[in-house]
C-alpha cells in the first residue's frame, strides 16, 4: 500500500466520502491508516489484534462520518474512535482482574534516557508485552491524558486499581528497558 497523501484537501475528501465515493474512501484510508495503526499498535497485544482494531475503527469512521461537525481536528475525532474501539476490544476480550491497591514505589531512574536510544518498534514491543490491563491504563493515562477517575469510568475498575496498574505498568516497562540495556550493552545506562 502506498503512503501517498490524499489528492483532495481534507474537507473535500470528507465530502466525497460522504457521497459514498469509493475512490475517496480509499484515499482517506491511505492518508490516515499509518497514524491510526500506530495508535492501535499501542493498545493491542499483537499486530493481528491491532489490524482488527484498525479495520473496525475505519468502518466506524465511514459510518459516522456525517456526525463529524468540522469544528475540531478531524484526526483528533478519528483518533477518539480508534481509542474507543480499542477499549471495546479490551472489554470484550479481557477479563478485568481487580488488582489490590498496593502502592508501587516509582523511582526516577536512569532508564528514561534509555528510551531515547530505543527505536519506536522496540518500545512498542515492550508495551505489547505488558498485561492487557496495565497496557490500557498506561496508554489512557500517558498518551490520552485521562486521570484515574476517568480511566476507572471507562474500564469499569476502581480508581485505586487504575493507580496501581499504572504504577505497575511503569515499573514493568522500566524493568524491561533496563534488562534490554543490560543485555545490549552489558550495563544499564
Amino acid at each position: 500500500m502506498s503512503t501517498s497523501r490524499a489528492a483532495y484537501p481534507e474537507k473535500e475528501l470528507i465530502r466525497q466520502c460522504l457521497k459514498g465515493r469509493a475512490n475517496a474512501q480509499r484515499q482517506l484510508y491511505e492518508h490516515f491508516a499509518p497514524r491510526m495503526f500506530a495508535v492501535c499498535l499501542r493498545y493491542a497485544k499483537n499486530r493481528h489484534n491491532a489490524e482488527d482494531i484498525l479495520q473496525e475503527g475505519f468502518i466506524k469512521v465511514f459510518k459516522y462520518l456525517k456526525n463529524f461537525r468540522g469544528d475540531g481536528s478531524f484526526e483528533g475525532w478519528m483518533r477518539r474512535i480508534f481509542v474507543n474501539t480499542a477499549i471495546e476490544h479490551y472489554r470484550k476480550n479481557s477479563k478485568v482482574y481487580s488488582v489490590e491497591d498496593i502502592p508501587v514505589d516509582y523511582q526516577e531512574t536512569t532508564v528514561n534516557p534509555a528510551i531515547q536510544n530505543m527505536s519506536v518498534d522496540e518500545l512498542l514491543e515492550l508495551v505489547e508485552r505488558l498485561p492487557n490491563g496495565y497496557r490500557m491504563v498506561f496508554n489512557l493515562y500517558v498518551m490520552e491524558g485521562l486521570n484515574h477517575r476517568e480511566i476507572a469510568g471507562e474500564l469499569g475498575i476502581s480508581e485505586g486499581t487504575s493507580k496501581s496498574q499504572l504504577a505497575r505498568a511503569r515499573a514493568q516497562l522500566q524493568k524491561m528497558i533496563a534488562e534490554r540495556e543490560l543485555k545490549e550493552y552489558g550495563t544499564a545506562i
Binding site: 480509499r26 491524558g145 471507562e154
Partner: protein, 402 residues
C-alpha cells in the same frame, strides 16, 4: 487534582511515540471495503423501500379521493339501498304519504318499491328526478328531500353537468329541507343527522378522513440514570437540559367522529450536559428517528352545527426509535454511537386540541409525553423521557361514511 503524566518517564515515552506512523497490511482494507460495499447496498435498499412506501402512500391517497371531486353516479345503487334500508325514518308527512298512496309503509325500501315509486327509484338512481319531471308524486318529492337531507343523495359538484336535487354542501340545500314541509324539530334532526353546517358545508368530523401533514415539536429530554446526572440539572443546580426540535411527517386516519389512529415519522434531537463519567461534563447530542403509533379519541367536540369543528383529543400508543447519530463535544473521548442502544421502544401519551381551519385543513396543538425503554449511554444504563409541545398541520381527504 492530580495532573496526569507529570513523570519524566511518561514524558519521554510520549515524546517518543508522537507522530509515529506504521503501515498495516492489506488485510484491514479488504475488510473495510467489503463493509463499505454492504453499506452502499443497504443505502440502495433504503431508497427502494422509500420509493415503495411513497407509491403505497400515493395509492392510498387515490383510494381516498376528495369527496368534493366525486360527481359520478356509479355508487348510487349503494346509497339508494342504504337509504331504503333505514328502519326508523318515518315522519308524519311520510306516514301520511304512504297512507294515501302506496299502501306499503313498513319501510322506506317498500315505499320506494311501491306503486308510485317504481318510476321514482330509477330516477333517483340517475339523480335526474327533477330535471326529467319524474318527481310528480308529492310522496316521491318528499322522499327525495329526505334523501337529500340525509346526505344519501349524491351531491353533484358540477350542477351544469349533472343537475341533481340540492344536497349537502350545495347552495339551496337547507332551503330544500325547509321547503319539504317537515316540522322544524324534524328539520333540526335531519340537519343533525346529516352533519351539515348552517352554511351548507360538511361537518368533516362525520366523515372518515385520511390526513397527511407536517409536525414540529419543541421537546425537552431527560436521561434518567445512576451514572448520568441526566439532562435536568448539573451539580450546581444550573439547568443544562436544552430544548431541541423534532420534526417530521404525520398521517392520521379518523374512523369516526370519536376514534382514529395517528402515525408520525419524527427526526428527534435531544441535547444536554452533565455526564458524570470522567468528571467532565461533555455536551451530548443525540438524534433518533422515532415512529409513534397512537390511537386517538376525540372528545368535547364542537362545531357540528355551527362554524368549523374543533375538538380535544387524547392519544396514546407505542413508539419505536432508531438511533440516527449521537455526538459529543471536543472534550469527550469515550462515547460513540456504538455505545448507545441502536433501538428504543417506548410509550407515548398526548393531549391536543384540533381546530379545522377549513373543512380540509386541520391545525393541531398539544403536549406529548414519552417514556423510553432502558438503554445504554456509555457505561451507564439510561431511560429517556421527554415532554414536548407540538404543532401539526394536516390536509384531509374525505371518504364518506355509509
Amino acid at each position: 487534582m492530580e495532573q496526569p503524566s507529570d513523570h519524566s518517564f511518561d514524558r519521554a515515552f510520549r515524546e517518543k511515540m508522537q507522530g509515529v506512523e506504521r503501515m498495516p497490511s492489506e488485510l484491514p482494507w479488504i475488510g473495510i471495503s467489503a463493509a463499505l460495499d454492504q453499506m452502499r447496498r443497504k443505502r440502495r435498499r433504503g431508497w427502494l423501500l422509500g420509493m415503495a412506501f411513497a407509491a403505497a402512500l400515493l395509492a392510498l391517497l387515490l383510494l381516498f379521493k376528495p369527496f368534493s371531486s366525486d360527481n359520478s353516479t356509479a355508487g348510487d345503487e349503494q346509497w339508494i339501498n342504504a337509504f331504503s334500508a333505514l328502519p326508523a325514518w318515518e315522519t308524519p308527512a311520510l306516514r301520511g304519504g304512504t297512507e294515501s298512496g302506496s299502501g306499503n309503509s313498513n319501510s322506506e325500501a317498500s315505499a320506494l318499491s311501491g306503486t308510485e315509486s317504481t318510476s321514482a327509484a330509477p330516477a333517483l338512481k340517475s339523480g335526474r328526478m327533477v330535471e326529467q319531471g319524474l318527481a310528480s308524486s308529492p310522496l316521491a318529492e318528499q322522499r327525495m328531500s329526505y334523501a337529500a337531507a340525509r346526505g344519501d343523495v349524491k351531491p353533484a359538484m358540477n350542477p351544469h353537468k349533472d343537475p341533481v336535487p340540492p344536497g349537502p354542501g350545495m347552495p339551496g340545500y337547507l332551503s330544500a329541507i325547509h321547503a319539504s314541509g317537515i316540522p322544524r324539530d324534524e328539520q333540526m334532526s335531519v340537519e343533525r343527522k346529516s352533519f351539515v353546517l348552517p352554511d351548507g358545508s360538511f361537518d368533516p368530523l362525520s366523515f372518515r378522513m385520511l390526513r397527511i401533514g407536517f409536525i414540529g415539536m419543541a421537546q425537552a429530554t431527560s436521561l434518567g440514570s445512576s451514572g448520568i446526572d441526566n439532562f435536568l440539572a448539573d451539580a450546581a443546580g444550573r439547568k443544562r437540559m436544552k430544548v431541541r426540535a423534532a420534526y417530521g411527517l404525520s398521517a392520521a386516519l379518523d374512523f369516526s367522529r370519536s376514534f382514529g389512529v395517528e402515525v408520525n415519522l419524527l427526526i428527534s434531537s435531544s441535547e444536554g450536559q452533565a455526564f458524570k463519567a470522567g468528571g467532565r461534563r461533555p455536551d451530548l447530542r443525540s438524534n433518533y428517528i422515532r415512529v409513534p403509533v397512537m390511537l386517538k379519541y376525540r372528545f368535547l367536540r364542537a362545531g357540528a352545527l355551527r362554524g368549523l369543528p374543533e375538538a380535544f383529543c387524547l392519544k396514546a400508543g407505542v413508539e419505536y426509535g432508531r438511533l440516527n447519530w449521537v455526538n459529543m463535544d471536543e472534550f469527550s473521548n469515550f462515547i460513540e454511537p456504538s455505545q448507545f442502544n441502536p433501538t428504543e421502544f417506548g410509550a407515548v401519551a398526548d393531549i391536543s386540541y384540533e381546530k379545522y381551519l377549513s373543512p380540509q385543513h386541520i391545525l393541531t396543538s398539544g403536549f406529548r409525553a414519552r417514556l423510553g425503554s432502558p438503554g445504554k449511554a456509555g457505561n451507564a444504563s439510561v431511560r429517556s423521557a421527554a415532554l414536548a409541545f407540538y404543532l401539526q398541520l394536516h390536509y384531509g381527504f374525505f371518504k364518506r361514511n355509509r
